[in-house]
Amino acid sequence: MVIEHLRRCLVAVTCISLVGAAMPMPAQAAIVSTDRAISLEQRAGYISAVTAGLAREDLQARFVALGVDPAQVQARLAGLTDSELAALAGRIDELPAGGDALAIIGIVFLVLLLLEFTGTIDIFKKVP
């Protein structure tokens, strides 16, 4: 309940700050970006500036929670388009995060070792 309340509050604050940010420079706001024009032509659908702004807020918080230096978060998100931000928001914990190939080799080795000791296989030849 409390979390839901905080979430609503955050959304409201974000919306207000976005509107506030847009006010002083309507000239910038009126240009429809290339990325958003492309999103209109694709199945994924149109990404509005508000959707992208909310996605950015959401991602900033998740990145800090996942151990990224808060001072770095802005710079890291800067290389992503609005569509990419929207695709990433809310899915950061489930999307592939390539780490290493070494762990799986370890597991296979353990399974083989277990089979060897139980006598199911005999691939580790005894050194004479």
Binding site: R76, A78, G79, L80, L95, D100
Partner: protein
């Protein structure tokens, strides 16, 4: 010691243990059995054997195959980096790995356009043949227990049905095509080529390429993006969105005359595109031409009615209505009417400006 305590094995026991092993591993291998050979998957005229031996190699640290693989393709494309330079910008400690989007963003920050290839073997071989190694995502586990891994594809040999990778701590990992394709399929057939600004991939798709340029722009590389938009406009002269990209890029760089000229070329190609009319209206307003701007914005409003763009166009119209009405310093209207005399090219625009 343990072995000495066991009874000697018989041939039957070995056969049984072989079957036991097979039954254990078969579910893992089942998906491999259906993969067509590499030779049959490649276009007829594609080279059958390539290896980009000059591709650098950076053995990965724990969990950091992302920065290592990215450094490999960046260095191969001429950007002098080592994996340590990329960790702070692309490694996510809480996930013990790197997200695809973050590797792409990091490449853009280093001035390279990251083009995500369509996931077919023909695209892979075409880029390799052009001398460009590819960043790929593999799932080395199974769908239920994924082990995500980034590697760099540097070669293939259709005769031996193999691919060659820079992977983890192996400088030259040779993997059967079936095994690679299986792990690549389970990673979503994701392969990325890094391009210098202005360069095109081998078989570019317009929207895919324009999307990649927009990413370069998001990373603040406006000049690099301009070179790539120019390449896109030259490759697809009939594509209105390439003109939109050029126009938006010029607008962001503060070059209003170039922005207006590009938007107008776009409008000529796609008169029904509300985005082009809207952005043209905004650029004209900024250039001190509110009457022309208003005409374009009204066209945009008609086209945008009932679409998600309605709000954007309303903002543009409101900005025009709030501003001064007279054409005090309009640099792009020369004898044009209030409805906006269409300009056919940038030369036309400059000629009219010179006439005044």
């Amino acid at each position: 010691m343990i072995r000495d305590l066991r009874a000697p094995r018989t041939r039957g026991a070995r056969a049984r243990s072989g079957r036991a092993l097979a039954s254990l591993l078969l579910p893992w291998m089942a998906a491999c059995s259906t993969v067509a050979p590499l030779d049959a998957s490649l276009p007829g005229d594609a080279p059958r054997r390539i290896e980009l031996t000059a591709t650098p190699f950076f053995p990965q640290e724990d969990h950091q195959c992302g920065p290592a693989a990215l450094a490999t393709v960046l260095a191969a494309s001429g950007v002098p980096v080592v994996p340590a330079d990329l960790v702070a910008g692309s490694y996510l400690p809480g996930r013990e790995g790197s997200l695809q989007a973050e590797l792409v963003a990091a490449a853009r920050r280093h001035g390279r356009l990251a083009y995500v290839l369509p996931g077919d073997p023909g695209s892979l071989v075409a880029e390799l043949a052009a001398g460009r190694p590819l960043l790929v995502l593999q799932n080395l586990g199974v769908d239920a227990y994924p082990r995500w891994h980034y590697a760099v594809l540097v070669g293939l040999d259709a005769g031996r049905d193999e691919v060659i990778l820079r992977s983890g701590r192996r400088q030259r990992e040779v993997m059967s095509w079936a095994r690679f394709d299986d792990s690549w399929r389970r990673g979503g057939r994701w392969a990325v080529v890094l391009l210098e600004p202005g360069a095109l991939p081998e078989n570019p798709e317009p929207l895919r390429f324009l999307e990649a340029i927009a990413g370069l722009e998001a990373a603040g590389r406006l000049g690099d993006a301009a070179a790539s938009y120019a390449a896109a406009a030259a490759r697809w002269p009939e594509h209105a969105l390439a003109q939109l990209g050029l126009g938006n890029n010029a607008y962001a760089r503060g070059d209003l005359a170039a922005a207006v000229a590009s938007y107008q070329r776009g409008v000529a190609l796609a008169p029904g595109n509300a985005v082009l009319h809207n952005n043209l209206a905004q650029a004209l307003l900024d250039a001190g031409c509110p009457r022309q701007a208003e005409a374009e914005a009204r066209t945009a409003a008609l086209l945008a009615a009932g679409t998600p763009l309605e709000g954007d166009v309303r903002d543009t119209l409101e900005a025009i209505e709030a501003g001064p009405r007279q054409e005090g310093r309009c640099a792009v209207e020369a004898g044009g009417s209030a409805t906006g005399q269409p300009l056919s090219s940038r030369d036309d625009l400059e000629a009219r400006a010179a006439d005044r």
